[in-house]
Symmetry: C2
Subunit: 362 residues, 2 copies
């Protein structure tokens, strides 16, 4: 069952939990903010639902509570950061802040961060820049999941890209895995006992796996050397653009693992504490090119033109960020949706850390 | 029929034709180089096959022979260029040279160019940077062709992205329309009298148009206010990632028309001499992040790992740029493929300009 919970109280609960882990109040505030922001924008797969995964990482030592990200090389427009396996969200906020500062001083900031952790949604970091009037771009690599076109074994991560541009009444935010869907989407369909509606998963390179009961094959998704993987955006055939999604995944590898000289997707192993994902953070100041307000005003009018195009009967044309903004307004009024399984996981973590979860969940 | 012609002689022919139009020898060399480069890399749709289109543009005054691109705003890391409707290839080479110079001085160069023309393949400009040891990115907007997800009318251009990264034995070059296929692909299938093999064209937002004889609908592709358009990369359904291709097209609009404050795709009209496409050119120096040679060496080894993955029986795993490199070697040995229709068009242009085409075509 799914119930709704007050976002402010939930924020307090997450804050208390992370402080009990040993994170500072400031860091715990940042972590709670990113998780609650994500849930409020309707991306349940990457909000508090992920707390159990981070809990495992903290317990195993894969996430190190005392680590601080460190700039190991920089120029006025760039930085390489070694995150020393701190919590992904903290590395991400730190790194994008560095990119934003450089963009405000020099027009552009390109930051690449290695030895990081799972950092949630790429769009959050891109939007940090947009909130400051800048264009923001962020991406991350991840454990092998994507089948390169014609390959029968996954090798690239789902390698999502977040891109944000300031706009009114809300920012343009594009946030997408370079696979047809992210891992989380498969998990959601399995939980809901629904068959996969398109070629999201392929066996032996091009054979569709759609049955949600096909445990044998779907469980192999998490095994990087298996013959089951996620399809690139564009599917498995060059006729539908498979090589384009594959190429976008490669672009992400270049800006994350290749430039930072960190671990490439296929080098990331779940149980190896010495490796971790890499991320990139780019901020660009539009006022280098013209009057910022005029640029944003014209862009916002363009978005409105698109929303008002003739649509397929019964369908709405959304520009990127519209659905998230609607979800945010709803969550503010009516609370955040949490399913029973996630709730039980959070309560168990709270219980272990002597946090009274029920105080916040009513 | 398709025959092969010597690339050096063909270069000489194109050079002479463009000089006869009134372009300087230096500019004509650049134009011939981009067109022959494109054909030699196997992208026939954008090589000398386009000479008839440029001929029309020159005759109608849409391309202005005497125009020079002009930097109208700049910082150490950025420039806005007004191309004053010069030939697209010349604008592109000039603009990417500006981006490269800035990247060599400041680490990064972001250039956005307005009032330009059709500039050929995005990957050519991206690769200009890679040839200098830099990461290169280029994109262009274009006349409306892409259906935004759920819309029944095209509004964005095919908005291709070119991305290149130095590698051995040849550069990584990703070059793709953000629609499932570019316009030229539809033209090629119609010429070959082959049905479209996937959901490349949709009517009323989501109805497939596959029959190559469906002249009524396929001709509407060129009419921006019609109910027929090219599908975004990812098709027409959110289940297959339609919103991702649509979003990538939007990213291109931002870096081209929005930042340059030039004409947005839907504002470009074939017969209006006062409007033209916008382009973007980005160069980034990898040595800001670490030792360039080490980065390129590791990246090249990574590409080789991908080529060697297990593949679907009978299929080859190509990384981006591999097929183009094979085509280039073949064209050097055996010549460039040109079909009869294109040959006749080139001969007619040559004849009108008093150029002896037969001297070069034997």
């Amino acid at each position: 069952m799914i119930k709704k919970y007050d976002s402010t109280k939930l924020h307090q609960l997450v804050l208390e939990i992370y402080q009990k882990y040993g994170f500072s109040k400031t860091d715990s505030e940042k972590i709670a903010h990113t998780l609650i922001y994500t849930d409020m924008h309707g991306i349940q797969s990457h909000g508090v639902q992920r707390m159990i995964m981070y809990d495992n990482f903290i317990q195993s030592g894969k996430v190190r509570i005392d680590s601080k990200p460190e700039i190991i090389k920089e120029t006025p427009v760039s930085a390489v950061i070694d995150a020393h396996f701190g919590l992904g969200q903290l590395n991400g906020i730190y790194s994008m802040d560095v990119a934003i500062k450089k963009a405000k001083n020099a027009g552009v900031g390109i930051v690449t961060t290695k030895k990081s952790g799972h950092y949630g949604i790429a769009g959050f970091y891109a939007n940090m820049a947009a909130e400051q009037g800048l264009i923001g771009i962020s991406s991350t690599n991840s454990r092998p999941a994507m089948l390169p076109t014609h390959a029968t074994q996954s090798f690239l991560g789902t390698n999502p890209i977040g891109f944000a541009m300031p706009a009114n009444p809300h920012n343009f935010i594009l946030d997408f895995a370079t696979t047809t869907v992210p891992q989380g989407k498969i998990e959601v369909y399995r939980k809901l006992e629904k068959d996969l509606p398109a070629l999201w998963v392929a066996k032996n390179g091009d054979q569709p796996v759609n049955d949600h009961n096909d445990t044998t094959n779907l469980d192999l998704l998490r095994d990087p050397k298996s013959n089951v993987g996620l399809t690139p955006l564009g599917g498995v055939s060059e006729f539908t653009g498979s090589h384009k999604g594959f190429g976008l995944g490669m672009m992400v590898e270049i800006f994350t693992s290749i430039l930072s000289q960190g671990d490439i997707s296929h080098e990331i192993e779940a149980d190896n504490l010495a490796v971790g994902p890499c991320q990139s953070f780019i901020a660009i100041d539009p006022s280098m090119f013209g009057d910022r307000e005029q640029i944003i005003k014209r862009f916002s009018a363009y978005l409105e033109d698109i929303r008002n195009l003739p649509a397929i009967p019964g369908k709405t044309i959304y520009v990127h960020g519209d659905k998230e903004a609607l979800n945010y307004e709803d969550a503010k009024q009516n609370g955040i949706k949490i399913d029973d399984a996630t709730l039980a996981e959070i309560k168990a973590i709270a219980n272990r850390l002597n946090v009274d979860a029920d105080k916040y969940l009513n």
